[in-house]
């Protein structure tokens, strides 16, 4: 059983999942390239994953067989375990609880696509519908307070399989970084009567020096204090705290903006590893006036060194204004290249 432990000095929570490795040599493979032989995420290999939680599939096809377009399965090596009680307790000055949670994998295509950008727009929309559906479902489990959707692309960004997929982890505690964001946004709202993110969107549109894409319902820009070269955020222009409130027209446009933004990043950085993370409000917060959901895309082209670990602040060798300019000017040469890479 994994454990959730709290660091009293920093307030950080850590998942100790010691079933995952037991010898120092177990870590040796983390920098190896990802192999695609007999991929467990490809159509026809459904028996290589745990039984599916949900799938969007052709009518008349059965669970865990061919015929799906997007498929959600439990992670075979979960960071948190779905069965059991939390058993919150203290050990002297330390807080500890059982590592209860959900850890799901959203397989985005039955084909061996290497990126979300290789999928057609309808397929990307279904991935987003799937995100929404899973968040709404996990919200019903009263043990969980937060649902974190994220994507790792490339071995050094944490991906262990190259077949395009996302992950969803539902946790019994709200991560400290999320609490920090929410607290700051709440303070801003109390002081100014407005949403900090709405103000930021307006300023970015007015300044127009960091915009990557300005669509009707969404905006993508490189943040003013980008931690990493080509870091890009996507926000809904209309205030909303919860990703899972998305409706059909928004999902259609978001699929388009997300794919377009990733194409620009992949083309500019020649398929460097990246992560994206969906920052959404905790389950227990209803229609919040002050928090505003968004997607943070983090290309992994620079190494994190001691300075960043020691301080939590970052050295970024590329100004966001320059990054936005390069991303805006990217030609759509990417599509053909990526299709060729797929089986």
């Amino acid at each position: 059983m994994p454990e959730l432990r709290k660091e009293p000095v920093s307030g950080r929570w850590v998942i100790i999942a010691s079933e995952r490795a037991s010898r120092p040599t177990d870590f040796k493979s983390t920098h190896q390239p990802i192999k695609s032989d007999s991929c467990p995420f490809c159509e026809g290999n459904e028996e290589k994953t745990p039984p599916e939680i949900t799938a969007y599939r052709e009518e008349g096809t059965k669970a865990d067989t061919r015929g799906w377009r997007v498929r959600v399965v439990p992670n075979k090596f979960p960071a948190l375990q779905i069965e059991g009680e939390q058993n919150k307790r203290v050990e002297g000055i330390y807080d500890i609880m059982n590592g209860i949670g959900a850890h799901e994998v959203i397989i985005e295509s039955p084909k061996h696509a290497l990126s979300l950008t290789a999928l057609d727009n309808k397929n990307v929309e279904e991935v987003l519908w799937c995100y929404k559906e899973r968040l709404i479902d996990l919200k019903k489990d009263k043990r969980f307070v937060y649902g974190l959707l994220f994507k790792n692309v490339g071995a050094s960004a944490g991906a262990s399989l190259e077949h395009s997929h996302s992950q969803l982890i539902a946790t019994p505690i709200v991560p400290q970084q999320v609490i920090n964001e929410i607290t700051r946004a709440e303070t801003f709202y109390k002081n100014n009567g407005r949403c900090l993110y709405c103000d930021m969107i307006q300023q970015e549109i007015d300044t127009n020096s960091r915009i990557v894409t300005l669509a009707e319902k969404f905006v993508a820009f490189t943040p003013f204090a980008s931690r990493f070269p080509f870091e890009t955020w996507i926000l809904p222009r209309k205030h909303d705290a919860h990703f899972e409130n998305l409706q059909k027209p928004e999902i259609e446009e978001l699929a388009n903006v997300l794919k377009d933004t990733l194409i620009r990043i992949e083309t500019t950085l020649e398929f460097s590893p990246y992560n994206y993370i969906i920052h959404t409000a905790p389950f227990y917060i209803n229609e919040s006036e002050y928090f505003h959901w968004h997607i943070e895309i983090i290309p992994r082209v620079t190494n994190i060194a001691g300075f960043e670990w020691g301080t939590g602040f970052y050295i970024n060798p590329m100004s966001p204004e320059k990054a936005a300019k390069l991303l805006r000017s990217t030609q759509d040469v990417h599509k053909n290249e990526q299709t060729q890479k797929c089986i």
Copy 2:
């Protein structure tokens, strides 16, 4: 001129040092191995660095010539610039100031040593004296409020040169992570009348399941909520907020404990990359009852994925109890190997 920019959503500060890179291809080299040809840190190559700030050298030898044992120089590619005014200002909702600060390199040996562990104990002591001396000196500059000492070992931990060295960055703002630690420690002190770190040390000694080394004046243990496999902290057993308060007997023992701990980590992990960071109190805090300086050693054997970026909490596949046991049982086979690797 680099800029210091504040992210309004998270409160993070970022250094935008755009002189460091201007094209996407500038990032391509970050994962390349480090070359040792004509190393600028080796004795005899003093002209390849900016003029030295200080050095411990043989009597009668001149600055920027041979004869030194430890040498401090300005970083040739500084993240922050020493000359100029801060010019704090706002741009709408954003905070910004000029990137003023110090960025120094402590070259730990005139020989091309690949690790601090290849140095003899007297040499390690001089490195620590040098840390202390530089902190005390930078404290006098009223523009700076914090001094961060850290070490990057290995390319993927952020080192760009393999010759053993540390870095010191003095900043005009206190990093958010440091503020967070201090605030939590202060709250604990107010509630309990004791130092949180002193309590932690006592509990670790009593429990005795995560101790790596228990010496007279220092203790090394794997923290209860370790973020990374083999993460190890070294703390002075006697309460002190400031690293630079160290005196001769403590420096002698710390050199020994630090070198011993690094030897255990290097041997166990077969010279994987790592960072260490000295967490010390900000310059303006005097003899604090609640903050307790310490060194955090972070082996870089696992990749940081989307989950960690999105939440600030970590998945660690190795329990700290198991890591401590492995580190304690490490034979000292390392010394000979490491000496052979050095020129």
